[in-house]
Symmetry: C2
Subunit: 340 residues, 2 copies
DNA sequence: TCATAAAAAGACACCGGTGTCAATTTCTAA
DNA sequence: TTAGAAATTGACACCGGTGTCTTTTTATGA
């Protein structure tokens, strides 16, 4: 299965390669007749011009740089900094593909983008890390890739994880150690594999502490602020109100904080609220959130390292690396209030 | 001033180009003697291998893709989505350069990165948009670039702005319309040109409303949460306490919200707080922040459009486009309380 | 109908490196 | 001293396109 080149197209269409080039670049002086022939040949053979050859011949890279301050602390920025640090070291550059993960055209877009860039490899972040159709697409295309985060059961592919379940477990242990018994949990978006892991950690901790699970204490959220608000309203109007709510991410936790304030519940004295992810907002809101910090930059760095080894066909010692999350205690958690 | 190629180096060193290639890729079977000669020649001539030629010959792009969910609403993500939307359309790809803007090695890093990528152009975001040494570096290197945001007095270079001064002015008009007379202002980081513009808008609005400026009401912040806290403490302990505080960005505004809560001041009834930037946190905190939204994605899109025209040497109609910011009123602002 | 111009298509070198294989030089051992 | 092996170096094709110039075909007008 060799790559189709301009020569193949020329041969198929029965014209010179320069004519193909003319059609490709919509230069003048090509008859409608030949244009049609060429387009047909391109379609039949599935020809995609090689961007590197083009760059060399035309003295244009077709690359535009985007310079921005690395100090930003958003997820996107962190993962880029980490991955790039390693790539630079090995002479690689990072091309970005922000894509709508809910779009039906995803695979199609990607196909266009990846192929006409001649990528050496790809780093996947959630929720792309868990999209099986995408993974098999990359496999058949033989594009090397590494997953960051996501579903650990997909570990037949090289992946870098942080241990969501364990971190969630630890958070709950911490809450229990503060004396909480009525601990509610807000689940994350079902598309993200992490959601399930975080739930499992919660359940295990409660189970080990012999706290009977209560169905009403587990609510389905979607990682958004609004879903956090919604679940919080449900939880805080229960007759047997929880004394602590652990949300699967910080955005939802901030939603709880808002609802609590509206209900005149004082955090952390009346209610403990904790989140996950150490989002920027978790530091900025008041009270600041107790949360879990994932080593995002480090994970991306490691992912890039593995990917480069795969590209170079060097052996990789351990294709599934698990990083440890960290519990960050801030103002939103306190010992459980005495219940009547 | 032609580009130095491998042939030049070969000629200078008096060996074949294949030998240069051997040294470059540290292949075996090169005598120490020739190695030295070649390294010397490379140094003298300032030779940098052409990545596109290399890619074509070795069938490797040296490019790694990073796939991530475009839904993220951080600044970094927004600007990337906007720029890329345009670039894709014209067959360009986006390579990212997250750099530490406070590093002394910035220019050096950039030189390495940009040259060995053969970039066609560069998009600058704040605070890089305002770094004169960087701008002149790019000019002498003849790398086309477009500035996004930043100092409008640097408009001899193609730039895309949003009107910080006007937006700031509008925010203050809004506060005045709510009956506020004691309006304090927290300045942004002095490295960012926007900081000055935002201050000017504040001053103009107060001036037009014949509100006497008070020195103590203007504090120097640094765009960080902590600096917001610090300034808020100063402002809220003044004997003649302001009834509204306008912070130059949302992070500082969230700092104010925290301090206010600690001082048992109820927002917005006792104190109006407003920010700037429409950062994610501005929606998530309680009360949510009245702020200014900049059309970041649109600006980046336009910047890419201009850049591509420059690269293609097409005329650009207007090399300095100004976008309009938008006032977003949320929960943190209310009519001024009656003063005794 | 034919000279001439305009349009269309092709030939071929070239972009700047790498891969293959042959040629040359150096080293080793008889 | 010299054959033979090993190390070093070079010649040249090639990667897959584009640019320049030439040739061929088609259209135009006298």
């Amino acid at each position: 299965m060799k790559k189709i080149t301009i020569n193949d197209v020329a041969k198929y269409a029965g014209v010179s390669k320069k004519t193909i080039s003319r059609v490709l670049n919509s230069e003048p002086n090509v008859s409608q007749d030949t244009k049609t022939k060429v387009h047909h040949a391109i379609k039949v053979l599935g020809y995609q011009p090689n961007p590197q050859a083009r760059a060399l011949a035309s003295n244009q890279s077709l690359l535009i740089g985007l310079l921005y301050a690395s100090q930003s602390n958003s997820f996107v920025s962190k993962i880029q900094v980490g991955a790039l640090k390693r790539c630079k070291n090995d002479g690689y550059n990072l091309i970005i593909y922000p894509e709508d993960h809910e779009s039906d055209l995803l695979l199609e877009n990607l196909e266009k983008g990846l192929i006409n860039t001649n990528l050496d490899g790809l780093i996947l972040t959630p929720p792309f890390s868990d999209m099986k159709p995408l993974l098999s697409f990359l496999e058949t295309r033989q594009i090397p890739f590494v997953r960051v985060g996501g579903d650990q059961s997909l570990n037949q592919h090289p992946s870098v994880y942080s241990n969501d379940k364990e971190a969630s477990y630890e958070m709950c242990r911490y809450l229990i150690s503060l004396g909480h018994q009525r601990i509610a949990f807000i689940m994350g978006h079902p598309d993200h594999a992490a959601s399930k892991q975080r739930l499992l950690g919660y359940q295990q901790a409660l189970d080990e502490a012999s706290i009977k699970p209560i169905d009403d204490y587990i609510q389905q959220g979607f990682f958004t602020f609004e879903s956090g608000e919604h679940c919080a309203r449900k939880l805080l109007t229960l007759s047997r109100r929880p004394t602590a709510i652990f949300a699967s991410n910080d955005y939802m936790a901030t939603g709880i904080v808002k609802v609590a304030a509206q209900m005149n519940l004082f955090i952390p004295n009346d209610l403990t609220v904790t989140g996950f992810d150490n989002a920027p907002a978790s530091r900025y809101i008041w009270p600041s959130l107790t949360t879990i910090k994932q080593p995002i930059t480090e994970m991306a760095f490691e992912a890039a390292r593995i990917l480069i080894r795969i590209i170079r066909q060097k052996p990789i010692e351990n294709p599934n690396i698990i990083f440890k999350d960290e519990l960050i205690v801030r103002e939103s958690s306190a010992p459980a209030p005495k219940l009547d």
